[in-house]
Symmetry: C2
Subunit: 378 residues, 2 copies
DNA sequence: TAGCGTCATGGTAGCGCTACCATCTCTCGC
DNA sequence: GCGAGAGATGGTAGCGCTACCATGACGCTA
């Protein structure tokens, strides 16, 4: 531990009032690119090379350096080369904060999701991330915890930063959130779901249709007393439930007692528990449509524990189609959702909009796909 | 769609050269707080209230407003009230970019993880997020994709922003990354693992010990030909393998043919596949220690498919102890890791350091816990 | 050859905030 | 009663960059 101590002095707060120290640390930033040409700079700033240093070295005006970096085609070949050489030599990196202040636009994508651990959102964020990784844009993450109020708070925090774009999960923003999004002055993409009246753009699919398709499949497979098990019950879950209900009603099979829900966050163990409860309530259940795969897995495990035959005695359908569903025993039918693709597409649309090429289609429905597997193959 | 169209004109690039439009959109930012007092401001900036506006309204100097907001105790009760009233009335929100430029410090935590979808890191990020949610700090996320080079690139991007702190996963940074971290001029916390020679601070546990403990447990439970199955094999996995190997060697049970690894990213289906391969190679296998729970679940499913009795014929131990392990059938033994707590603790340490209260203990080992379950109860 | 648009380049003036230093007012000790 | 010290407040001068406008050089048309 002592070794670590010795090797990094200076930055920490306890010497916060001691400018000497801070500067010493900052100067080391060069290290990489340049051999610490310590010009006695003014008090602040810490001495990293600035655009003015590059301009001086290249023998041009600062603004030309700025242009060479941002709009190379507007600077003559000659100067460009000279400037880039100077940039290299000094190890110059533009200060994103100064840039943001001067241009009133930060190179940041604000991303708001209701959960970081829910695999569905994690995959969407990954899609966003991957699509942005070779752009100059950074990602700022916000976790709304499924709360409208928290979403408002986060938008209030994100707004003043003047992000280049905002990507938000869901289409059920509060009126205040909607207003904040409209006022953000940047492209906005609502993801995960499609619906009428986008704030700006939308990428997702119909959860209602997903739920209905799943239920219809089970009905078709011969199940009759098909339960619905859902946790958390965010707006998307509600719509899946509505789709299930529509299908069940159309077949004359709906019964409110078939539905088991809870606001508690979803998990495999909760799925098992809820299924137990559902079975106690309705012993003649012959199938379950689970609001997501975690629940479905919980149901499957409970069936194993209780020696209930799947798909014979009970059929199971999940939602999202996580990787494990296809290798489970028996493999589990699920509705495959394009969550990674949603992330990618949302970025593509936002980037197009930033570039001034507004996509014609403002609402993109990426659909879903029912994966029929053993768990409903009666 | 048309409705959405009509309701948000102006920001998009196709009218980028048309300042009129942009300003119109920006002005709307007030809307919420104030009834659009459109003072004919200078060309840039879009007209949101600034600290100068607040100062004027409150009849004080701008710097006093700044202080009232950042160090309230340094401003008299009276002025503070007046200022806060003015802030409220104008709907003033400080511009984080201007703040960052002026103070040479952004209120941003840079977070670097190797994967966004791996539940382990997702939970750590969640811990970080939760600990930061009522602080002024924002989170900027970086995904290294398990690549040292990508980590370097990201540090190069994060550095110029002058983040308030950096939290990076792992302790195996490249020399360049280490240099960049040391030069960042802010607290740095390496998370997930502990080891000698921290860049600054560390929070994690010993993966070697975790692997050894798991293997020892299986040996103790009576298993003899215990395989190791691992995917991805990042440095942490390597150390778990080393721990397993140490335990096996100590018991005189090690055999290189027991080890099955692949650089391919981990998943449940891959776990099933690898186990199949391992079994084909070593039919007399009587147990497996899985590098993580996904693999373990895949093994469990394969056992079901192939009608292999668990724990009788084969014992299974996982790593991380995801929620599902305790409800699986049979429930699966696993090494519980404090990933959420790691996130929380890392933030606590970084915040302390920022406040100048450097924690005495620079390396914090949060340990792990072996959860014995049915899958190894022979 | 004059006149005009186009292109490459540069100067100036901020963007909105905070560090630094100066000033002013009180309180206290002797 | 006076100087020292502490606390509250303010003015000034940037932070590093880019928007805007100006300038000069060039090529084109008439």
């Amino acid at each position: 531990m002592a070794s670590g101590c010795g090797s990094r002095p200076g930055w920490h707060g306890d010497s916060g009032k001691d400018a000497e120290h801070r500067f010493a640390a900052s100067r080391r930033l060069f290290g990489v690119g340049e051999k610490a040409v310590i010009k006695p700079r003014s008090r602040r700033g810490g001495g990293r090379p600035t655009i003015a240093d590059v301009a001086r070295k290249a023998g041009v005006g600062a603004i030309t350096v700025s242009r060479a970096l941002r709009e190379p085609e507007r600077v003559s070949e000659d100067l460009r080369r000279q400037i880039l050489a100077a940039v290299d030599e000094l190890g110059y990196v533009p200060d994103p904060n100064a840039r943001a202040l001067a241009s009133a636009r930060a190179e940041v994508f604000g991303v708001l999701v209701p959960s970081l651990t829910n695999n569905v959102f994690a995959e969407t964020v990954r899609g966003i991330y991957d699509s942005l990784s070779d752009s100059p844009f950074r990602i700022q993450l916000g976790n709304t915890h499924y709360s409208g109020l928290e979403e408002e708070r986060l938008l209030q925090v994100f707004g003043p930063q003047r992000p280049a774009a905002l990507i938000v999960a869901g289409i059920d923003q509060t009126p205040t959130s909607r207003r904040l999004l409209e006022a953000a002055g940047c492209p906005v993409v609502q993801v995960m779901e499609t619906g009428p009246d986008p704030v700006d753009m939308m990428v997702g699919f119909s959860h209602f249709d997903g739920g209905r398709t799943a239920a219809e499949h089970m009905i078709e497979a011969g199940y009759r007393r098909i339960g619905f098990i859902g946790a958390r019950m965010d707006p998307r879950s509600q719509r899946r439930l509505a789709g299930y209900r529509a299908a069940m009603e159309a077949a004359g099979l709906f019964d409110a007692r078939l539905v088991t829900t809870t606001p508690v966050p979803s998990s495999v163990s909760l799925g098992r528990e809820l299924f137990r409860g559902a079975l106690a309530k309705m012993p003649m259940l012959d199938g379950v449509f689970c609001n997501n795969d975690d629940i479905a897995l919980g149901v499957l495990f409970e069936c194993h524990h209780a020696s209930i035959a799947v798909p014979k005695t009970i059929g199971i359908t999940g939602f999202n189609d996580l990787d494990m569903m296809q290798v489970a025993f028996p493999s589990v039918t699920s509705v495959r959702t394009p969550r990674y693709e949603i992330g990618r597409r949302s970025v593509a649309m936002a980037l197009a909009a930033i570039a001034g090429e507004r996509p014609e289609q403002r609402v993109v429905d990426l659909g879903f796909e029912l994966k029929r597997r053993e768990s409903t193959a009666r």
